[in-house]
């Protein structure tokens, strides 16, 4: 069955100048909108792991996966959407606060097992980690206090257990 759904691709790529450009450019060329993209060093020296979330039907995503795999600097790329995965995102949220709202915000933050990482006279900065739903829920709750700024990492993911991608 082909229907549009969010796909999580994980790519192991060489850590060289221009590799991010090559990878991202391929999504543009094949007409894909990247929903989120996270890149960082991996356990292997000289290689980075990218987590890319895109919307598309399975056949199209498989086509773009194969095209990605052809890039010389891409070591391996897998669509892990239908596998057991651990996926996390980190968000920093700067919320307006004053003496009367501060404790209520802290309570909400505690419920979400999030952290306050900066306190200013008129704002609090909250750090939250979790799947997208958790991050979204917290943002929704904090909206009533007034959100000044948000910065999100996008999804990073690994398969569960012994499988290595």
């Amino acid at each position: 069955m082909n229907f549009n759904t969010k796909h999580t691709l994980v790519a192991l790529v060489e850590d060289k100048p221009g590799v991010l450009n090559r990878t991202v450019s391929l999504f543009r060329r094949r007409g894909f909108n990247i929903q989120s993209l996270a890149v960082g060093t991996s356990e292997q020296p000289g290689l980075s792991r990218m987590t890319i979330v895109v919307d598309g039907d399975s056949a199209m995503v498989e086509q773009v996966r194969k095209q990605l795999d052809k890039l010389i600097n891409v070591v391996k790329v897998s669509d892990i959407t239908n596998e057991g995965i651990v996926a996390r995102e980190l968000a920093l949220i700067k919320v307006k606060s004053n003496t009367s709202t501060r404790s209520e915000i802290i309570q909400i933050v505690d419920i979400f097992r999030a952290n306050i990482v900066d306190v200013a006279p008129d704002s609090l900065t909250v750090e939250v980690t979790g799947d997208e739903d958790k991050v979204e829920s917290l943002i929704k709750l904090l909206k009533s206090f007034g959100i000044k700024e948000i910065s999100r990492t996008g999804r990073i993911a690994l398969t569960r257990g012994a499988t290595k991608r």
Binding site: V13, N21, L26, R29, E62, Q63, Q67, K70, I72
Partner: protein
């Protein structure tokens, strides 16, 4: 011993077996050109435009089946390469494009003649490099040739800043490739091959579609063995035309928009298609919805991304065509599909190509036919893009794998003249005919200068109909006969040739054709014939855009059906 970057480049090219470089000098490649005199074994051919150089390297690569090499300066030199690189990418031609770049310190500062050519060519190269350290140069060239020539071949660009060409490093040419992330599969999956063989053995109406991959992997003997052993008729894509002998009884010619009616009928009625080294391009499949409705599909290709891209395969085999066919031929049983083959014979008899008659008028198809008669098929035909290309594809009988050189994927008009020049340089013993359109010819006409200077004995046949013919045909058929901007004011091509000191002749009538061709062949150097052909002759058969292969219009009278 330490060598300069320019010397390292030349030494490395020689080690890769490069004999010819097509290029144009400029500021950012001066140090490279300055060292050419030290390496007389590298022949440099000075083109008149970088597009000419890159198409020439492409034509050269297609006939010698190793990487063609071209070189241009930074900025405009490099951007003039773009069409030729995109063309090589679409047609899987191994190409090494070397560009000069401004000195390292000036990169990103918008200096004179700076262009981000690695950025620009990112989606049209198999890979590209910007050299930032002279010590990386030799290793990079080694990798570039390896990437360009293995797996599914393609163009690789190397951008070399001017100062790196002058800096020195110890020259050690690596003998090994260290590219852990580059991989391709040669051998097909054994179980898939067995599955394919079973499908072939069980099929009653099988058809082979052969593409350029057969030529690239030099699998023509294996293809012939498969066709003969299992008695399967072969149709080809445009670029696969010479992969199977044109005079073979099992050859049905080209499929697709301007393919033969019987090739398309064969595909539409087959119960099994064995697609080898082809990518189901839309000009070959027409509307994919109606493509081969009764058929299962075995798809053999070295590029996994081609599997299921345009047409889903029931049995995909990723691998090199030659290796896969060798294995497949061992599993395939001898067969004769008498009913099916006699059906195909009957279609062939009932639906031939348009009769070009015996009249006085000069039909372009007649010219192609006469070139075939004069050469007995022993020639390399290099075409332009458009009507001339289709007539060359339909009317010449190709019996040698490298005898048909054409830009199929990108379709750049102006390919013909420089590509023919490159093909002749690559195969100096062969007769090379350039079949040009009057429109496309003027897009790279300046290469007449290169041809004269280097005395490259290309025979040029201009199919001069005074129109951008293929577009005019579409205007006639699909845009109510409104010829907007397709009529060409043309110069006197005979005088142009004269100005370039190339012997030439103009031909208006059929009876002049054969003598003119003979004259061209007798001439030891280049020769140009301006054929004033019937202005509004159309290419038939034709599958109208958007229709399936079943809806092929075979004869001009078919137009009436279209208009109804």
């Amino acid at each position: 011993m330490k060598k300069t970057g320019a010397q390292i480049l030349c030494e490395s090219l020689i080690r890769e077996g490069t004999e010819v470089i097509f290029g144009i000098i400029g500021g950012a490649v001066l140090p490279i050109y300055d060292t050419f005199s030290q390496y007389p074994q590298l022949r440099h051919i000075m083109a008149r435009h970088e597009q000419g150089a890159v198409h020439a390297a492409d034509g050269y690569a297609r006939v010698v089946s190793k990487a063609g090499v071209c070189i241009a300066t930074s900025g405009p030199g490099a951007t003039n390469f773009v069409t030729g690189i995109a063309n090589a990418y679409m047609d899987s031609v191994p190409l090494i494009a070397i560009t000069g770049q401004v000195a390292k310190a000036f990169i990103g500062k918008d200096g004179f003649q700076e262009a981000d050519i690695t950025g620009i060519t990112l989606p049209i190269t198999k890979h590209n490099y910007l050299i930032t350290d002279v010590r990386e140069l030799a290793k990079t060239i080694k990798e570039a040739f390896y990437i360009a020539q293995t797996g599914r071949p393609g163009p690789v660009l190397i951008d070399i800043p001017r100062d790196i060409q002058q800096e020195k490093a110890e020259f050690i040419y690596p003998d090994k490739i260290d590219l852990p992330s580059y991989k391709f599969v040669s051998r097909g999956h054994v179980a898939q091959i067995k599955k394919a063989a079973k499908a072939i053995n069980e099929s009653s109406r099988p058809i082979i579609i052969a593409g350029r991959g057969v030529i690239i992997s030099r699998a023509y003997d294996e293809l012939k063995e498969l066709a003969e052993k299992a008695q399967i008729a072969v149709v080809s894509t445009l670029l696969g035309i010479a992969s199977f002998p044109g005079d073979h009884i099992l050859n049905l010619g080209m499929l697709g928009m301007h393919g033969t009616a019987y090739a398309n009928m064969a595909v539409q009625n087959a119960d099994l298609i064995i697609a080898i080294g082809m990518r189901f391009d839309d000009r070959a499949t027409a509307n994919t919805e109606g493509f081969a409705p009764r058929s299962r599909i075995i798809h053999i290709d070295i590029d996994p991304a081609e599997i299921d891209k345009n047409i889903p395969a029931s049995t995909p085999i990723v691998g090199d065509a030659k290796t896969v066919l060798e294995a497949l031929n061992r599993e395939v049983e001898s067969k004769n599909h008498l009913d099916w083959l006699s059906q195909l014979e009957q279609w062939k008899y009932e639906h031939p190509l348009v009769d070009i008659g015996k009249g006085h008028d000069l039909l372009p198809q007649y010219v192609v036919r006469q070139i075939y008669e004069a050469t007995q098929g022993d020639a390399i035909i290099v075409t332009g893009v458009g009507q001339n290309q289709m007539w060359a594809a339909q009317r010449f009988i190709y019996t040698k794998p490298y005898s048909f050189i054409s830009a199929g994927g990108l379709g750049p008009m102006g390919f013909e003249l420089p590509a023919a020049m490159g093909a002749k340089v690559g195969c100096s013993d062969e007769v090379v005919w350039c079949i040009a359109g009057d429109g496309g010819f003027q897009m790279t006409i300046q290469e007449l200068g290169t041809i004269r200077e280097e005395n490259i004995a290309v025979k040029i046949a201009i199919m001069n109909n005074g129109y951008l013919g293929m577009v005019r045909q579409w205007q006639e058929l699909f845009y109510g006969h409104r010829y907007v901007d397709t009529k060409l004011w043309n110069p006197d091509f005979v005088k142009i040739a004269e100005a370039y000191d190339i012997p030439s002749i103009r031909v208006k009538y059929r009876e002049e054709v054969a003598p003119a061709i003979d004259k061209a062949m007798e001439c030891p150097g280049p020769f140009l014939i301006d054929f004033l052909v019937e202005p509004e002759e159309n290419v038939f058969p034709m599958v109208p855009p958007g229709e399936s292969l079943t809806k092929i219009l075979e004869i001009p009278e078919g137009l009436a059906l279209l208009k109804r």
